[in-house]
Symmetry: C2
Subunit: 340 residues, 2 copies
């Protein structure tokens, strides 16, 4: 029998916050007391969990007393300030921001890939675990079993990222802009500084000296860290597309050892957190819509890369995963389950 | 002074057909007589060219008598039947279908890349020239000058393709579906067998034995043919996104010789048919919306590929081009200009 775990949710009214509640309920997480925390602006709102109403409280230094687990999905600066406070109070934190992801003392975890990274940690004992970037998680779930089988040397990925990655306001803006464009009106640009409806654009994060944006750098660095592999060579191009809540990724893989398409398909069919959607005759492959609301990362278009001169050392994949679930809330709750 | 050229347009009422008229007018092509041809269904419709009305006629065997140039944008089977008839009648054909693209006797031409392929051909003398696939053209315009400078060994491309590539009906369906989804109604699926609004999917062309769809195979084979290079290794992943009329492509390049990012940028700044949109501080890069209605292929996100272990033998690009213009009608008219 599992002991009840007192859970605090930071950023409870955001897009990921609401998914935390749905995932905890859906997975029968042993929630004891539940405390919903948000900014001053959202305090006083009411949210429902297991048929019961909870009033959102304003996040404060004493918010974590008596709590065993805190799921954070607010800004990086909120995490930087409040995750150590929670941890000090004996509340174990799973943090969805990028604040601690590259901190050597903080495990960065995809439960299907590196669950051993949280060994020795428990809810109610303090400590912080970082939840990776959504695009990183969705890529690593299907690529990791192939990497384990054949050794990964290089990866080139291009993403097709949904509005949800920029939060609930971005999803609302995509919908509002689409209505406006269809009505022949100029699109309202608040979250993004350009038209998103019927358009796409390079990810709106800062560009570093090497020409890669922050989202792309996260995919490179976090993958290396989770795989504990500084040699794997990765190039990423991150693009936002006018889709609501699931990311797609086109992934080109280069292996140390040959890996046949058939073997790759078998590995993926058995892999945890993966569902094959790869029906060539029916032209049925992963789509963001089919991935929306699903726990699994959908994988298809599995094929030997024809640019490898007949060597079976390359594969192409097309994957889709729900950005709010496996890309965020679900992965965080799965981490929490490792800590029970 | 250029002699007037009698022009027939086959598929005049289609999405590309209408662009043929706009491009001929915009570029002051020396059109003498103009004959607009289409299926029985569209015959009798009226279209305007240079302020004058033209009635669309039904395509027939005698449609090409007295014509010097025919621009075809109908089905491959229409081209297979009628392009040879036009050619026999002394009418030179520029064919936008895939019917003759891989025929060794038919030049396949991007004017910025291999204009020499039409040497000796003239309007009014018969003969067929094939217009490449839209995704191929949009890729080759920016990649060719880099290839010329450093020798291209391998290319990995992922596309973000617009509705227009599937014709005017697909564009209308995307709009209709979007209205329906926003109204909470089920989307009408006629052109595509799934929801396109707020979704994306692997290109809806047949999948061959190697797991690549026809669109991807076209990109590989046509690029090799236009470059006259059977050694270049190419892998493509083609995806349709809910965008109206411009394609985007994320391109990873591997070169024989080092090519610095600065040199690549200089080459692209000088390249015909290319416009640099690569402002890192402003996060301003090519978008389909900015490319729509533009002749040039927009190129940005130019950066040394960080997965090449510090060698300057790899580059990443993100490009956008108008599928109906440079991807179809404009390229065809530019080919016709070579034949004047």
């Amino acid at each position: 029998m599992t002991t009840a775990c007192n859970v605090a949710i930071v950023g409870a009214t955001g897009a990921v916050g609401l998914e935390f509640l749905a995932v905890l309920e859906h997975r029968d997480f042993p929630v004891g007391n539940l405390r919903l925390l948000a900014s001053h602006r959202s305090a006083g709102k009411t949210l429902t969990f297991r048929g019961q109403s909870f009033v959102v409280e304003e996040l404060a230094e004493n918010s974590f007393s008596g709590m065993d687990l805190a799921l954070f999905s607010a800004s990086g600066s909120i995490s930087k300030t409040f995750a150590p406070i929670a941890s000090e109070a004996g509340c174990t934190v799973v943090d969805n921001s990028s604040a601690f992801r590259m901190d050597p003392g903080t495990p960065l975890v995809v439960p299907e890939v590196n669950p051993e990274a949280v060994q020795g940690m428990r809810v109610g004992k303090g400590g912080i675990v970082a939840n990776p970037n959504c695009s990183t998680i969705i890529m690593l779930v299907p690529v990791s079993p192939l990497r384990a089988a054949a050794g990964l040397t290089r990866l080139v990925v291009s993403t097709y990222q949904a509005a949800s990655g920029a939060g609930a306001a971005a999803m609302a803006e995509l919908e509002q802009q689409t209505r406006e464009v269809l009505a022949g009106e100029p699109p309202t640009c608040n979250v993004f500084d350009r038209q998103y409806a019927f358009n796409l654009f390079s990810h709106n994060s800062d560009i570093g000296e090497e020409g890669y944006n922050t989202e792309e750098v996260k995919m490179v660095r976090e993958s290396r860290r989770i795989w504990n592999d500084d040699d794997v060579r990765i190039s990423a191009t991150c693009v936002r597309v006018p889709v609501m809540r699931a990311h797609a990724e086109s992934i080109n893989l280069e292996f140390k050892r040959p890996l046949s398409e058939a073997d790759a398909r078998s590995l993926l069919a058995e892999a945890p957190g993966v569902r094959l959607v790869d029906d060539r005759p029916a032209n049925h492959f992963p789509t963001p819509l089919e991935a929306s609301g699903e726990d699994d990362v959908l994988v298809g278009r599995i094929r030997q890369d024809i640019s490898r001169n007949g060597e079976q050392t390359g594969l192409d994949l097309f994957v889709c995963g729900d950005q709010l679930l496996k890309g965020a809330a679900l992965n965080a709750v799965q981490i929490a389950e490792l800590l029970l």
